[in-house]
């Protein structure tokens, strides 16, 4: 479904963020994207969400070349992709409900239909009782889960997450990953960028590893935690 074909991305000034990266993500597949910071994880996600365009070659989703999507169609592409941010990027002066409802409002939903979907999304991340709260009153893990609810509320077929567990303790991280697994089990393709190698190794999913812009590993990650 998602396909990178020898994609390179260099920024002005000559910094090469991605160097001939190729991989395919099938429909309903879940994969991790790992690497040190600066290895190109964020750039890769930006190419998928059309925040950046590749310098060389192309990114395909369902055989549609993303570089051929015109600027005014970008919003419609993004509606098919749920994105979860490291710093969750919630609107702090709006309630949890409003935050989660945002993608639906943008798509033109209203009334009972919208409320039903928002409640379903909040229920999936276990925050139904916090719908009327402001994001500030929630803990970090809860805020991240609100971000997930917002990303999945319009049932996108592809879910991207950029360091979703970046600021969370291991237990909360595990919870978040369980949520992703649950979505994957209902057929959503999930790509999670993270540098939490221990978590990735325990989860036993396909792992793409980037190093200085190159793909150095594609498959299960063999990783042993150092014994203390």
């Amino acid at each position: 479904m998602l396909e990178f074909d020898q994609v390179s991305k260099s920024y002005a000034g000559g910094f090469v963020a991605l160097d001939r990266v190729s991989f395919k993500l099938e429909k309903g597949e879940m994969a991790f994207l790992t690497g040190h910071s600066g290895a190109g994880k964020s750039t890769l996600l930006k190419l998928i969400s059309l925040i950046e365009r590749p310098s060389v070659s192309r990114v395909l989703i369902n055989d549609v070349d993303l570089s051929r999507i015109r600027r005014k169609h970008i919003p419609f592409v993004r509606r098919d992709i749920g994105i979860i941010f490291q710093n969750h990027r919630l609107l702090m002066n709006h309630t949890v409900f409003d935050n989660v409802a945002l993608p639906l409002v943008i798509e033109g939903f209203s009334g009972k239909d919208m409320v039903k979907r928002v409640h379903a999304a909040l229920d999936k991340v276990g925050l139904l009782d916090k719908a009327r709260c402001l994001p500030q009153t929630l803990s970090g893990g809860e805020q991240q889960r609100v971000g997930i609810a917002r990303a999945v509320v319009n049932k996108p077929p592809l879910l991207l997450a950029d360091e979703p567990t970046g600021n969370l303790d291991p237990d909360l991280s595990k919870d978040i990953m369980r949520v992703f697994e649950a979505f994957n089990q209902v057929g959503v393709s999930v790509l999670v960028a993270t540098h939490d190698l221990g978590l990735v190794a325990r989860m036993k999913y396909r792992t793409l590893t980037l190093k200085q812009g190159k793909m150095i590993n594609d498959g299960l990650l063999q990783y042993q935690e150092d014994p203390l």
Binding site: S42, L45, K46, S49, I51, I61, N62, V64, I69, K72, H73, P75, F76, V77, R78, R79, D80, I83, I84, F85, Q86, R89, L90, L91, L102, P103, L104, I106, E107, G108, F109, S110, D113, R150, A151, N154, K155, P157, L160, D162
Partner: protein
């Protein structure tokens, strides 16, 4: 509609089976909701909103005041239409029949509103009464005054009145016609000068209003940069993002227009007292005219259009410039 996922078309709200009427109603309900949301946004930042509305109101007040000035000047000049009255002095040897037939002809003339005949006798009686020469006039053997036809043109503007005078001068029994026109021409010139000055000043001020609103909207776009980025990331189109800002512009227009109206009305009430004491001295019945209902709505429409134009200019430039920088 989904570009990438053909099987996903049914999930969007746009494809839901809803009737045309419901669609139409929802369209307006949504707009109303967004308009109210923008109003709430202004309410939450009262100091900034009040400043903008204040500047807008004062900027609109000046053109409106000038317009009222011109309007009242015109009212004064209209009340002097008698000045454009043409006096036709009839030759002494003309017969009563000739005068009557000329009067009938002139009354049928399309360019003439009214013809009044003042006979020699009436003229003499009036002269005797007004001048104070009453007993002296009795010694006259014959009446030296001519018959006079007072002609009021339909079009009392100086040029038209002068043209009519030239035409009437050619009538056979007319000795000569007289039109006291110079000061009328001057008044006309002053009024039209004022009108043009008002137009220029109004244009400048209205331009300023557009810029002020544009700048205010630009600031509020900058304040919401993060929010706009998030909205773009979850798939909002530029049109969706800019709508609340356009509504803010409209609201600025509405409140600015109302403020301008209130200022002008207050000013009129205040001035009316002063003017009354002046006009009382001259025994005149002059009353200041305020804005008519049509003019009030024109003012509001203008203010709203200016608000919309200012915010549109700003929104066009700045919303597309904000691009999300990263997940």
């Amino acid at each position: 509609m989904s570009i990438l996922f053909s099987g996903r078309a049914a999930s969007g709200a746009a494809t839901h089976k809803i009737g045309f009427v419901r669609h139409f109603v929802m369209f307006w309900v949504n707009h109303l909701r967004q308009a109210l949301a923008s109003l709430g946004e202004l309410w939450r930042t009262p100091s900034a909103s009040l400043l903008t509305i204040g500047v807008l109101g004062v900027s609109l007040t000046l053109p409106v005041t000038l317009h009222l000035l011109v309007k009242n000047m015109q009212q004064i000049s209209d009340s002097f239409t008698q000045a454009a009255e043409i006096s036709l002095f009839i030759k002494q040897d003309s017969s009563q029949t000739q005068i009557d037939s000329l009067k009938t002809i002139l009354q049928a003339d399309a360019a003439i509103a009214r013809v009044t005949h003042i006979s020699k006798q009436q003229a003499l009686a009036e002269f005797a009464a007004v001048s104070g020469f009453g007993p002296a006039l009795d010694y006259l053997t014959e009446n030296p005054l001519p018959d006079v036809l007072l002609v009021l043109p339909k079009n009392t503007q100086a040029e038209a009145a002068r043209a009519l005078l030239n035409r009437l001068n050619k009538e056979r029994i007319v000795e000569y016609g007289k039109l006291d026109i110079d000061w009328l021409t001057r008044l006309d010139a002053i009024v039209s000068l004022l009108q043009q000055a008002v137009a220029v000043i109004a244009l400048l001020l209205l331009g300023a209003v557009v810029l002020i609103i544009g700048n205010t909207i630009r600031l509020s776009i900058m304040n919401k940069k993060d929010e706009i980025e998030v909205m773009k990331l979850v798939g909002a189109t530029d049109a969706f993002i800019q709508r609340p800002f356009l509504y803010s512009g409209v609201w600025y227009g509405v409140f600015g227009g109302l403020l301008a109206y209130l200022i002008v009305e207050t000013m009129l009430v205040w001035l009316q007292g002063a003017i009354l004491s002046v006009t009382a001295l001259y025994g005149s019945e002059f009353r200041l005219m305020s804005l008519s209902v049509a003019e009030f709505f024109a003012l509001m429409l203008l203010a709203v259009l200016l608000g919309l134009a200012g915010s549109y200019l700003s929104v066009r430039r700045h919303i597309s410039a904000i691009e999300p920088t990263g997940p």
